[in-house]
């Protein structure tokens, strides 16, 4: 029994690897669900399509880290497996009580530490600084995102590029979901939609708010995620690549209640013409609703 244990162990490890790989490769989507709009982009068991100009920095760090992790794990695993086989208990074999001087381990630990420092100071802190402080100055679009249980509202400032004041006391979910004030001149040309429209290749500054609980504004294809925290206004920014027009998904990444799973919105990356047409449609004075 004892003598064959290590073989069982190896077989198990091998089996796991094979099983894991085949399953990942064979993991296919179930029948697509009708969500009203066809979503562009490619999605699978790895990072999804990236349509953001700066998204590659996130991807690069994730990729570098994974190569490093897999390398370390494989190297370390080989040593582990070697020890398990070579030093298994068997007749005539006795443990060596003298502890080895494992200089390589010290070097390995130092190498790991240095590598982590490089990741930290080379790939993380500067990028984070860019994300947090280098807001675009090239006349970005400005949009305010207001999260609520369980929907996203997109508040556009209109031609004057100024947001009107919001007053939570006058919120009317049918006619005035954000509580926009009529007497605020800055808010005269504002408009609100349930769809997020941006222009391709143009930078966007998004101010994130929440009406009730903590939500998280997550656009996988943009590598953008930011919690929406009630009582706070948190600005973020991104810029889409050229020629990425299409529809993409926005999700909520922070548990926000019963229907957290269905708190989804669609981001339309438009050409300038499409965008202008949409704005015209949304801002047109409402006609009276007539039932057929």
């Amino acid at each position: 029994m004892r003598r064959c244990s290590w073989r069982i162990f190896l077989a198990v490890v091998f089996g796991c690897v094979v099983l894991g790989q085949t399953s990942v490769l064979r993991a296919q989507a179930v029948a697509p669900k009708d969500t009203g709009v066809k979503i562009d982009g490619e999605y699978g068991p790895f990072l999804p399509t990236d349509i953001s100009v700066d998204g590659y920095q996130v991807d690069r760090l994730i990729n570098v880290l994974h190569v490093f992790m897999i390398g370390l794990f494989v190297g370390w695993g080989l040593f582990f497996a070697f020890c398990l086989v070579k030093y298994r208990q068997r007749p005539g074999h006795r443990a060596n009580s003298v502890l080895i001087k494992a200089k390589p381990s010290k070097y390995l630990e130092i190498a790991v530490a240095i590598f982590e420092a490089v990741l930290l100071f080379g790939f993380s802190i500067p990028v984070w600084a860019r994300v947090k402080s280098e807001f675009p100055t090239d006349d970005p679009m400005r949009v305010r995102v207001v999260a609520e249980q369980f929907a996203w509202n997109f508040h556009y400032p209109g031609a004057d590029k100024k947001f009107g004041k919001l007053n939570p006391k006058i919120i009317d979910l049918v006619k005035n979901p954000l509580g926009r004030m009529d007497d605020d001149p800055a808010g005269k040309d504002d408009f609100v939609s349930g769809e997020f429209h941006v222009i391709e290749g143009r930078s966007v500054v998004v101010e994130i708010l929440s009406k009730d609980v903590i939500h998280s504004f997550f656009v996988p294809v943009l590598r953008v995620k930011q919690d929406a925290i009630p009582g706070m206004r948190i600005p973020i920014w991104f810029k889409t690549k050229e020629k990425t027009a299409g529809a993409y998904e926005i999700g909520c990444a922070q548990l926000c209640g019963n229907n957290h799973f269905s708190m989804r919105a669609v981001m339309h990356v438009d050409t300038p013409e499409q965008y202008a047409a949409w704005v015209k449609k949304v801002t047109a004075p409402p006609e009276e609703f007539k039932e057929d």
Partner: protein, 241 residues
């Protein structure tokens, strides 16, 4: 399933008997009338609702807070609840047993007014291919809040409200979706429809205070005397500024 059904039938039978016992056949008094609108109809146009939050909500829908029946003459108001407010004394009425069906269809509530008796079952159905979350916001009754992720026009979920009060209902996934629940202790209530009329039937003769309730225009009361065998008529006129 079988068993529940059998019990249901039994209960319904018993309830009918009870009803017959309490409300005698002679109670055939009727109050009828219409709810009239007076004022500037342009101020109360229905506006289209922005349903862009969910691409599954394809059918255009309009606001419901004020729906005027412009084809009738005079112009009447839809979705006004007319009910007996006073005059029934301490009489107890057995609850209606047939469930009130509330369907979520095209991302709006059908019907918009849920007028039910205490303990009358309300059956909530989902007629859309999207997730709905119905959220009742009562003051006295217990708050109910649950989602119906799938189209389901048969089973649904049944609820009962125990205490008399009007309160709002909304959908937490489609914030624009709203409706009103009115719970009564008695069966004498009616909701105006496309013709703006109402009829309260089966009343014992006597003096009553009748109330008309509208979600936007508020309430209005009137004294009505019901005599046996002759329908009493009473119109309500709302004159919003």
């Amino acid at each position: 399933m079988q068993k529940t059904f059998r019990y249901g039938v039994l209960c319904a039978f018993a309830a009918t008997l009870g009803l017959a016992g309490v409300v005698r056949a002679a109670d055939d008094g009727v109050i009828k009338g219409k709810v009239i609108f007076k004022g500037d109809t342009d101020k109360f146009k229905r506006s289209p609702i922005d349903t862009s939050k969910d691409a599954n909500c394809k059918k255009p829908i309009g606001s419901w807070d004020v729906i005027l029946n412009k084809k009738t003459d005079p112009i009447t108001i839809k979705n006004v609840v007319v009910s007996i407010k006073e005059g029934l004394g301490d009489k107890k009425f057995p609850p209606k047993t047939e469930p009130f069906k509330l369907t979520q269809k095209d991302c709006q509530y059908d019907p918009h007014i849920i007028a039910v008796m205490e303990d009358q079952p309300v059956k909530i159905l989902n007629g859309d291919d999207t997730n709905h979350n119905i959220h009742f916001l009562p003051k006295k009754n217990t708050e109910e809040n649950f989602s119906q992720p799938q189209k389901d026009e048969v089973t649904g979920k049944e609820l009962k409200f125990k205490l008399e009060e009007p309160f709002k209902v909304k959908c937490d996934v489609h914030p624009w979706m709203g409706a009103h629940v009115l719970v009564f202790t008695h069966p004498y209530f009616a909701v105006t429809g496309d013709d703006g009329t109402f009829e309260l039937k089966g009343l014992p003769p006597g003096k009553y205070v009748v109330e008309a309730w509208h979600e936007k225009f508020g309430t209005m009361k009137a004294d009505v005397e019901v005599a046996a065998g002759k329908p009493a008529e009473k119109d309500f006129t709302f004159e919003p500024k």
